[in-house]
Symmetry: C2
Subunit: 281 residues, 2 copies
Amino acid sequence: MKTYLDCIPCFFKQALFAARAAVDNEETIKEVLDRVGVLVSEIPMYNSPPETGREIYRIVREVTGVDDPFAALKAESIKTVLALYPQFKQRVEASDDPLESAVRLAIAGNVIDFGANPDFQLEEEIQETLQLEPVINDCEAFKQNLETAQNILYIGDNAGETVLDRILIETMARPVTYVVRERPIINDATMEDAIKSGLDEVADIVSSGWDGPGVSLKGGSEAFLTHYEKADLVISKGQGNYETLSGEQRPIFYLLKAKCPVIARDLGVNKGDTVIKYALA
Amino acid sequence: MKTYLDCIPCFFKQALFAARAAVDNEETIKEVLDRVGVLVSEIPMYNSPPETGREIYRIVREVTGVDDPFAALKAESIKTVLALYPQFKQRVEASDDPLESAVRLAIAGNVIDFGANPDFQLEEEIQETLQLEPVINDCEAFKQNLETAQNILYIGDNAGETVLDRILIETMARPVTYVVRERPIINDATMEDAIKSGLDEVADIVSSGWDGPGVSLKGGSEAFLTHYEKADLVISKGQGNYETLSGEQRPIFYLLKAKCPVIARDLGVNKGDTVIKYALA
């Protein structure tokens, strides 16, 4: 997905939020915003927003000296969702359609997002999102594809959400490679976060090789690209992965909650809607 | 009021909104944002936000070549509220306390604001805001000051709101000088807008001499400064005037709806609250 003009004010909102998470010093935070200001004229609108997000978080790191401003928030999210794991696991197993329930639960986990939606109440929002009927619902196609899938690539998004991804992976009961970010970026899941969430027990975990809040085929690791090529089912979680993958020439299932109005418009849905979208190319 | 860090993303939101009102060309709009980006590092945080707002609208004018992007929206607002004038006028006259009703109505008119709150439904929002109990309510002090006032300076805010200011001025029945912006800025009322609203029939209208979305004692016209000095009652409508006048060493009545979280926090109220605030200095 290209960068829209509306993304630009939001880049500043995200830079401010990240800089505040890193330091408590108005001058330092202002310096982050100054440098993001200079960046604006260098943003190619054909780039995906996560490519710019990557630059913004680089500036936050350089100016504040803090490498992972969201470390504590990520740990808290994982802890909170791990505590909910037994309840959700049981709910999926007891449902009439465990697979669809698990897909919806994995989407509900996508409420976690410090980049685009800092003010959320984790458990309440997961519960609320679980009630939503996906506005695009290609779950039947997902089930069909899953029947014969032998190499599933599951591209993760946020830390905490990872625990609900684990429930979906357990429910699919197929070989899965789970993709994490190369290094900390916003609250996106890294190798460490995936392991803390128990994903290493149910999937092979590989790094995307890229340090933006999405994936990159240009900047991706060989391990990621190899899996991406050979996968017969690709699951892409969340907005950042959608933004960097949409338009790619291969079938992908996007599971996400449209938390940002620009992405909602790009998908043809309303902000707040959930989608299980099967994009063929 | 100083500039807060949260104002910076909002400057881009406002620049984008104004540039879009001016032109329908993505490259031109991006150029506006590029130039606002360069401006960020030059924003002194001790400046009031309207001082930066002034620079932003200058950039919008220069890049787009459009002097008054909100001309049509302003005309529409005035027309809409003029059509409501008889109904509101009658409501004020029929109320138990016409003066307080007129003050509240003038505050309700402050919902109109294309700078900070582009998505409003005019009549509904006025009606809703009229139901709100002002969270700071110095209306008794206002009435007392009004009893002996001979030189009232009434600093206007948005076009359309002007029609409800007129009802308050009629209800006060005292000599009033009404202050408008020197030139078009966002949807703020200029001389032309004030006249279209019928304010010339009930007040002397003077220009503030300044082209920012507020007033400036440094950049003000002599006419404005003379009235400001000699006034025994100053009424300041809306956020922009509050932002530029708060902290001044003279008694001022601020009538406004806190539409922005930063101003709400500065006033010690919640976003959406209305206030009749008597600031002694």
